[in-house]
Symmetry: C2
Subunit: 358 residues, 2 copies
């Protein structure tokens, strides 16, 4: 693969300052030499950092921007303050302006979603964007969306998310016909909100066109990897994601405590150390860092705000795969194919150019 992938980086996002983004980019570049970088942020801080990695300097440029969105800012405040003139906005705008293939930020999720939506706008035919998580399971990685872009969601949105998630699965996992499941509760008859039932009806009718509709799945099907794409609205999806994180941390703590309980256990743990190290790597959230904003005219990756350079490198890997595998083309193809029942087939026309904000 010799084609170059251009990555736009909000270097000021994240809790730990710009070093994480710059060093993460250097680490990733060493693995993928066909990448170039635009770092958005304060030149006085970024220039010395990039200078530490001369090879990175050759494949990147800095676009100066004074204004930085803080992690505490509310999305509406961030938009008022940072629209058009913050490192976060500028990072997304590079994608809109065709200067980059994908944008990445470790900043405030709500602000990044608000800015991405305003700057890139939803794809025609898609009513709202979603945040997709790449979720490790016992079978293979799967996609779960929406994990927090929007609270609530009607049947149209759930079917939109199915198209978006299936396109992402085709792009990332090279699957022709990913399976899609609707997240629901287990008890017969009380099964789900009306919008989930309606979405099930639409997806059943459309199954086979770019994905196979599996049916309802429950919370424990996520970890089993029962389907390739789990679709839900953002409230339940966010709670599922956070609950899984909390449970994994809880079980991890139990393990550590159990193996420190007495001297015999400590010796055993030391002997089994290599296996336990491998397990630790598997459970390391840094290796699966990154949420994907889907449904906009461009791809934006949200890296975890608290991550380090290893985690940021992981999120860059996700950004790279998204661009290299042309997820946007696959979404457009999905929209053309999908015989949506409550909306006219979406044209694959280019979005109207938006006037540049002042």
């Amino acid at each position: 693969m010799s084609e170059s992938i251009r990555i736009s980086v909000d270097a000021m996002g994240g809790d730990k300052g710009p070093r994480v983004a710059v060093e993460g980019a250097y680490l990733f570049w060493r693995e993928r030499k066909n990448t170039t970088y635009i770092f958005h942020g304060r030149e006085s801080e970024l220039a010395p950092l990039v200078a530490e990695f001369p090879e990175l300097g050759k494949v990147s440029r800095i676009v100066h921007c004074d204004n930085v969105i803080s992690m505490e800012e509310k999305p509406s405040q961030a938009l008022r303050k940072g629209r058009g003139n913050s490192s976060m906005w500028a990072a997304v705008q590079s994608v809109r302006d065709g200067e980059a293939d994908v944008a990445i930020s470790g900043g405030n999720t709500g602000a990044l979603m608000a800015m991405s939506t305003m700057c890139l706008r939803p794809i025609e035919g898609i009513s709202r964007p979603a945040i997709a998580a790449i979720w490790p399971t016992l079978r293979t990685d799967i996609i779960v969306l929406d994990v927090g872009a929007t609270v609530g969601g009607d049947a149209k949105q759930l079917t939109d998310f199915s198209i978006l998630g299936a396109a992402l699965a085709r792009a990332l996992f090279d699957q022709d016909l990913p399976t899609v499941g609707l997240l629901n509760v287990g008890t017969e008859e009380m099964k789900g909100h009306d919008e989930v039932k309606e979405a099930a009806r639409i997806l059943s009718a459309a199954s086979g066109e770019g994905f196979v509709y599996h049916g309802f799945v429950e919370g424990d099907d996520i970890g089993k990897g029962t389907v390739d794409v789990v679709v839900t609205e953002g409230f339940a999806g966010n709670i599922a994601l956070k609950t899984a994180e909390g449970t994994a941390r809880q079980v991890g703590t139990y393990i550590r405590n159990a193996l420190k309980a007495d001297i015999i256990s400590m010796i055993g743990a030391a002997i089994a150390g290599q296996a336990l190290e491998a397990l630790k790597r598997k459970l390391d959230p840094r290796n699966i860092n990154g949420g994907v904003f889907l449904g906009l005219n461009g791809v934006v990756i949200k890296s975890h705000g608290g991550t380090d350079e290893i985690g940021f490198k992981g999120a860059l890997g996700l950004a790279y795969e998204m661009a290299r595998n042309r997820v946007m083309d696959k979404i457009a193809e999905g929209l053309r194919r999908f015989p949506t029942l409550n909306a006219a087939p979406a044209p694959a026309a280019a979005p109207e150019p938006e006037a540049k904000p002042a």
Copy 2:
């Protein structure tokens, strides 16, 4: 404690037949001799089983009932077929008729909830029952409700669940002022459905009356044990519960695989065996088996359908604690105290007796 606790058992519920219930009761009785049992089900099957445990025979009686609700039956079918004449219905009716202090079944959750609601009816002032889970966390066990009784729920229901959950925490954990949190998503501004925000307003105003309102909590706060009672509607709660179960199983599988990866790891695991055994017990779902139906004029415990006699014994332990600690009185007290903002204070009057079904 010499007071006797009378437990009504649907002996035909569960996937593994009546032996689980009868043997589970015997195992529990050996630990708590102040218990007596009514076994509802087919006498021809139950009598020989009870005869295997002569001591149990002295503290129990069998109430014959031919009709058994299957695990596959829909709640409405189950009601039509089994109202008044199934082992499940009869088990609940013993509580209504004052013959037992608590009922337990390992049968079909939806059917059990439908029958319990029809037979016992909601407490005056409570609009809908909830299923509460006792959730092990890094701090201590906590209560999460609703984990699947009802999809959706308005602010009134969420505040009802807070009263019910707090009463359960006071009964089970002997806490005077349990902390209550509303499950929500993390992103500022998109925070929650309107009903969650409205419930937060009501609970803030009422905080200090039987519980302390902590504020919003997220999915990962459950495993941390941030609050004593996590309140949510049944869709999100069920997904959180199942996702946590799935994640715990997933991590458990990783551990087993890691420790079997090579001979060195196996030796290490053998040496650390005792600690790993303790961990396994901690993660054993049989030890935390049982959902509590709350909000009805009587307490019903749902044991997991697939559990064995050890798991059923665990669920009996929960039933015992509920009765011994007078959770019904604590709920009535909570309702009297709670200055509910959108309903008149509920009188603590006894419910009208319902006509016996034909």
